[in-house]
């Protein structure tokens, strides 16, 4: 009998996730630490109104780092080790569908992501003095971050299933992670300052718009959402294709 995703499975995945410290470090400690240090290093000496914008911008960049670290790099590191040891295969042989397994992992990671966001929000309010956002901007950011997280987890899952070896998966994901950080303007260089080709690639990532443009309407105003939505559709399609291909490759058939 095929086994469906249950609350027990989600709790099991959550306990499993908490047994690995990588997502916690890169998804919780690192972004908060950077939000504390970077504004002092980058914004000191600037006029007060610019300082505030730089602080908001850094906060937005670090907010994106949270799903990227937890759902992409952290997930990939943990799951690739499981794949290499044959644990997902063992679960499938016990009747767990791939769909149920990935759903349980997504829910468990969304719980950790939520905890990371709550800690991050409290930290921003208490320590880094970020501007109070407009409700619509805040909701837009939160929904976008969750969506980015889910898409990245799906990509990470598919890559691990395709490459099988932890060393390869981790290397590939580290490369993609840093590429995304550079292209999306989270390394201190604005995307607009990058060469044309790189700007075009960066336009395919929703993170680019959050890191470069969201600070402008953080406290309200208008925003042209179409390129942002298109980037979601593009990244979502890539994730879907990769996942379907990885599932097809691992399909069990008795003919």
């Amino acid at each position: 009998m095929k086994k469906k995703c249950t609350l027990k499975m989600v709790l099991y995945e959550l306990r499993n996730l908490n047994g690995n410290l990588m997502p916690h470090f890169f998804g919780i400690i690192f972004p908060n630490l950077m939000c504390l240090l970077l504004p002092r290093a980058v914004a000191s000496g600037l006029p007060a109104d610019i300082q505030q914008k730089v602080t908001d911008s850094i906060m937005l960049s670090m907010a994106i780092v949270i799903p990227m670290s937890i759902m992409f790099l952290g997930y990939g590191a943990v799951y690739a080790q499981e794949v290499e040891r044959g644990i997902p295969l063992r679960m499938r042989l016990f009747g767990f569908e791939e769909k149920s397994a990935i759903m349980a992992k997504v829910f468990a990671h969304l719980i950790l992501l939520t905890i990371a966001f709550v800690i991050f929000a409290f930290f921003q309010m208490a320590v880094t003095k970020v501007s109070v956002p407009a409700v619509s901007s805040f909701l837009c950011l939160v929904i976008s971050l969750y969506l980015i997280g889910v898409i990245l987890l799906v990509i990470s899952h598919a890559l691990a299933n395709l490459f099988k070896k932890f060393s390869i998966v981790f290397g590939v994901e580290m490369g993609i992670y840093f590429l995304m950080i550079i292209l999306c303007g989270m390394m201190g260089i604005k995307t607009s300052a990058l060469p044309n080709v790189m700007q075009k690639i960066a336009a395919a990532f929703p993170m680019t718009y959050i890191a470069n443009e969201f600070a402008d309407f953080w406290q309200g105003g208008t925003y042209q959402f179409m390129p942002f939505i298109q980037s979601f559709l593009f990244m979502g399609a890539i994730a879907g294709i990769l996942l379907l291909f990885s599932l097809y490759k691992d399909k069990r058939t008795v003919k």
Binding site: G19, L89, T253, V254
Partner: protein, 294 residues
């Protein structure tokens, strides 16, 4: 008929890892022992039947891959949570509320391991852990792929005793892969012999014995005196240290036994020795193939 394998061929690159020409059928309730040297195609066959690797040919069955259970050679689990948590999650149950699970845990003396992490279990405990969960699957067809490999002699014996005892009087269909003849003697009623990807023989233990060894076999030490006494008696292929004498009927058996007793020779008589079936079936298979390999 639970499953029939027809014209199966599994290739790894250019190399054929398994080739089943004649149909092989598993009936409900049968205990099929699969034996063969390393690289014979035993695990390849299980992987193909479970739908884990591609193959040519057909497997005729009503079973879906999820209706088959398997204890693989290597079974790995996460090490971040206690095995109790893994067990309850995989089986979607609670140990204290599940009578059958409680019975199995007690039967395999696994109570003290429940709070441990998988990586801290001993080899035997790891095997027991998977066995319990495989048994809880209540599958129509269960594969045990070298369930005792890597275990010391005593642990292996105890584990097999437990398995034999558990399945006694049950009608589960089992496919047991093993390198140990005595394990198959305890568990299997049919034997599938594989060698270098070929099916050497398949059938009921007794029938195969009669085909390849005769009615009974007398095993004695390979000494000059015993070789002299054995002259004129049909000799089977066996391990170098022993002589295997085949008897076609009861009269031959009685005559041979009388000679051996008279000459004070220690011997062992068997009418179902799987090692003898394996050695002689393989010998005859390659003889028929033109002495390609022995």
């Amino acid at each position: 008929m639970l499953m029939t394998i027809k014209q199966m061929r599994v290739k790894y690159g250019e190399q054929t890892a398994l080739h089943i020409n004649e149909p092989i059928a598993f009936e409900k309730g049968e205990r099929i022992g699969v034996i063969g040297s390393n690289g014979a195609g035993k695990t390849t066959m299980v992987n193909a039947l479970l739908g884990l690797i591609p193959y040519e040919g057909r497997v005729i069955t009503q079973l879906t891959p999820e209706q088959m259970a398997v204890h693989m050679q290597q079974n790995e689990y996460v090490t971040t949570v206690p095995v109790k948590c893994i067990m309850e999650t995989i089986l979607n149950t609670k140990i204290k509320e599940d009578e059958k699970l409680k019975e199995l845990i007690a039967f395999f003396d696994f109570e003290d391991c429940l709070k441990k992490r998988y990586n801290t279990l001993s080899g035997g405990q790891k095997q027991k852990f998977t066995i319990i969960m495989v048994m809880m699957q209540n599958a129509e067809l269960t594969f045990y792929d070298e369930v005792t490999s890597g275990l010391d002699f005593e642990t292996r014996q105890k584990l097999m005793e437990k398995l034999v005892e558990w399945y006694k009087d049950k009608d589960d269909t089992l496919v047991i892969i093993s390198h140990y003849y005595e394990e198959l003697e305890q568990m299997a009623d049919k034997i599938l012999i594989l060698d270098q990807g070929n099916v050497v023989a398949y059938g009921k233990k007794e029938e195969l014995f009669e085909t390849y060894c005769g009615k009974a076999v007398f095993l004695l030490e390979n000494t000059p005196e015993n070789r002299r006494l054995s002259q004129g008696i049909r000799m089977l292929k066996s391990a170098d240290h022993q002589l295997a004498l085949s008897c076609r009927d009861e009269r031959e058996e009685e005559e041979l036994a009388a000679v051996l007793i008279k000459n004070n020779v220690d011997f062992k008589r068997s009418h179902s020795d799987i090692e003898m079936i394996f050695i002689n079936a393989r010998e005859q298979f390659y003889e028929k193939q033109g002495g390609m390999k022995a």
